[in-house]
Amino acid sequence: MLARRDIALISVFSALAVSSNYAMFGFFQIKIMDSLVFISAYLFGFRIGAGVAWITWLVYGSLNPLGSAGFPLLLVLMIGETVYAASGALLSRVWKKSTQFGARSFARKSLVLGAIGLLSAFAYDLWTNAIDGLMIYRSFDGVIIRMMTGIYFALVHEVADFIFFAFAVPVLIISISRATRMRK
């Protein structure tokens, strides 16, 4: 069962992710949403991250200027986005939820975050393109075709995530953790 605080966190992060998605609509495949899902899971746990991922896609996938994703694609996107929640929660366990990015360790931590962003995006693209190809062509060849045709967009997505995770995520982790500490 989710506590009131969890619902509030999911709402705030989802609102941020959805609004930033609309704001960055012109930049194809470049979204800060992935970073927000990751950060929410890193700071507040997998359940919060997964909640943000699901709510964000439920709204953005349904009310999209390009048209609604519809079922079951919407479900595929929601599950795919959960990858970021999983990687955030996993890193949080490894780094013991550290919010310290000292001058000496910043470069290394930033690089690790960038690599995790890129790999998570790769897993997300692999999953969504594979299932999308399977749904459209109903064959394994279709999966390959969909992956090959989407490879350029996947690369842009992965590079963008590398940059966001390496530079924006550390800053956001520090600032959000300070804000929550102030509230206590």
């Binding site: 290394r108 690089l111 690790v112 690599a115 790769f122 090959m148 690369l155």
Partner: protein, 168 residues
């Protein structure tokens, strides 16, 4: 966990990320290459319907041989036109109306050597059925080219005609 372990884990993670990025880039470039090749084949196929492709050899008689392979010529071009195209006009010739053809004086500055009065530019073509080079019996302007042609200009001693050295 030691600091050394952390460094290796970081390096491994970053290398895996780089591997993924590089693999993706390779696939993107492979896709672009495949598209370019397809476009090239399509363009060549379109060109084939309005032009010919032939190989022209220039043997300058001094050991220098220059091949102009896959020279693209419009339909209806004769050997003289094709030679003009391949040399970018770097030739000297004299037109003989009575034969309706040009006599080649020099190509790219080679020819018309007064110390070699029996030397001249000869035209050749490769006979696919016999597998041998043969001289043309007509002037370059009278030679209608086809796509399968392999032709040659050879600056050579003609004093022993028809017993001539092969251009290639």
């Amino acid at each position: 966990m030691s600091g050394k372990d952390n460094v290796w884990k970081t390096i491994t993670l970053v290398l895996v990320a780089m591997l993924v990025a590089t693999a993706m880039m390779t696939l993107v470039f492979y896709g672009q290459l495949a598209t370019s090749e397809e476009r090239y084949r399509s363009t060549v196929a379109s060109l084939d319907s309005i032009s010919y492709s032939l190989d022209i050899l220039f043997n300058f008689g001094n050991g220098t041989k220059v091949w102009h392979n896959d020279t693209r010529i419009p339909l209806g071009f004769n050997l003289y036109n094709a030679t003009m195209l391949a040399t970018r006009g770097d030739l000297k010739s004299t037109y003989y109306p009575q034969y309706q053809t040009h006599f080649m004086n020099s190509i790219e500055g080679v020819g018309g050597d007064s110390s070699k009065p029996s030397w001249a530019w000869m035209t050749w073509h490769f006979n696919e059925s016999t597998g041998k080079w043969e001289t043309y019996d007509i002037g370059a302007d009278m030679v209608t080219l086809k796509s399968t042609n392999k032709v040659a200009w050879f600056y050579q001693d003609t004093s022993k005609y028809p017993d001539l050295a092969q251009p290639n």
